[in-house]
């Protein structure tokens, strides 16, 4: 297959990776989806989850993202992510601890304002997705 897909994963502080691959699988806000070369132009929100770059039919690199946006156009696929971590660098114990901390923060918050509550709930959701991502990767 001659067609290849340019992928860039960028976070606000730096470019995480820039590569050409066969396919990318992204955690879209309305469900996971794969992007192959010549995909129709698309802009989507991302939910916390795993971005996988595929090579030879297998995921070659995987990143956890806490959220962000993706833009697909004729030049390739650009992931504007936040909280990016290579999946293999997250330890299961740390992810479990992070989830517990986030849940405690939410439980401890006394009469939080609406925004504060939304922020804490978001943190919990991210921590949960992170733990899930790690469990799936190791099992």
């Amino acid at each position: 297959m001659a067609e290849r897909l340019n992928v860039e994963v960028v976070d606000p502080e730096r470019v995480i990776t820039s590569a050409t691959v066969e396919m990318v699988v992204l955690p879209g806000a309305e469900g996971d989806f794969g992007v192959l070369p010549l995909h129709a132009p698309l802009v989507s929100l991302l939910r916390p989850g795993v971005v996988s770059l595929f090579e030879n039919g297998r995921p070659s690199r995987r990143f956890f993202v806490a959220g962000g946006f993706v833009e697909v156009n004729e030049q390739g696929c650009t992931v504007l992510a936040e909280g990016v971590e290579p999946l293999e660098e997250i330890s299961r114990a740390a992810a479990e601890q992070a989830l517990k901390d986030a849940e405690e923060d939410l439980a401890d918050a006394k009469a939080p304002s609406e925004e504060e509550r939304a922020r804490l709930e978001r943190a919990v959701a991210i921590a949960r997705a992170r733990l899930e991502a790690v469990s799936q990767a190791t099992s």
């Binding site: 606000p12 502080e13 309305e30 698309l42 802009v43 989507s44 929100l45 833009e71 925004e115």
Partner: protein, 294 residues
């Protein structure tokens, strides 16, 4: 006429100052390099985000309904100025040029009968503006400019404050003032409008109409996530530029100071030696004329 001892002390004190300024120059130089790297590393994200925003804004505009962050409140009575300065001095005109530009802008806006509010990021700007415009300062964000590496989370903190104020309808237009980094020698005081977002024009490819994007979920949902994020990105970019400018300005200022101290030492040493020689001559004359008198 100062005594020889006084002059010696003076020379030594200038020497000590020169040591400090030259060390500060070296430190600023290495920090500058790092700050520049960070500023450059953050650029791709900002550029991509601007492009995406342009596409979205174009799509939403065709449908009419734009969110207030994009469309504004429909008035421009109250202006909010975010003054981004350093936490420390000894960096030439870096802080004062920002403050001067801010003062001028406040004056202009006041003459037009607008209300002005200030948000200070960085201690120096607050200290300098407090005396004159203390009642205008609504918010002060501390502990950003002094950091080794400005984290994106810091910019998000500032952005969250702005959004809070905006939602409370505390202002209509927000602008950030910072020093754009051109080179170590040249920094340009820049005003950049943050809210309402000045949507960048979508760049048009040479051939045919632009690609039509699919949006998932819909444009409005994406835009409502993207706009606050974009605000943080804009602020982050400005803070990074500012950090690089600060180090550049400090490097140049300290280089000048070191050179001045060197000149001063040369001049003082010359005067010291001349004085010493004069003293010796005088003593000799005293001895000789004393011997002659016998």
């Amino acid at each position: 006429m100062p005594s020889l001892k006084d002059m010696r002390n003076r020379i030594n004190s200038v020497r000590a100052t020169r040591k400090i300024t030259s060390a500060m120059k070296l430190v600023a130089g290495s920090k500058l390099r790092r700050a520049q790297e960070y500023a450059e590393a953050a650029r791709p994200y900002a550029a991509k985000m601007a492009a995406m925003l342009a596409n979205l804004a174009a799509a939403v505009r065709e449908q009419g309904e734009a969110p207030p962050l994009l469309a504004g409140t429909g008035k421009d009575d109250t202006h909010l100025i975010v003054v981004a300065t350093a936490d420390r001095g000894l960096c030439g005109a870096f802080n004062s040029s920002i403050v001067r530009a801010t003062r001028r802008r406040i004056q202009e806006l006041k003459e037009q009968g607008k209300t002005v509010k200030l948000v200070c990021v960085g201690r120096k700007g607050r200290d300098m503006l407090r005396r004159e415009y203390g009642d205008l300062i609504v918010e002060f964000v501390d502990g950003i400019a002094g950091k080794r590496r400005i984290a994106f989370a810091d910019a998000e903190r500032v952005a969250a404050k702005l959004l809070e104020l905006y939602e409370a309808r505390a202002f209509d237009v927000a602008t950030i003032v910072f020093n754009r980094f051109k080179s170590a020698m040249v920094q340009i005081v820049t005003f950049k409008q943050l809210i309402p977002v000045e949507a960048p024009e979508a760049e048009r490819g040479g051939e045919g109409p632009r690609a039509i994007y699919e949006f998932e979920p819909d444009e409005e949902r994406i835009l409502s996530e993207l706009l606050p994020r974009n605000l943080a990105v804009q602020i982050y970019g400005a803070l990074l530029e500012n950090a690089a400018s600060e180090q550049g300005a400090r490097m140049v200022a300290m280089d000048n100071a070191t050179r001045n101290a060197g000149e001063m030492i040369d001049k003082l040493t010359l005067r010291y030696n001349r004085q010493r020689q004069a003293n010796i001559t005088k003593e000799l004359i005293e001895i000789v004329s004393g011997a002659e008198a016998l």
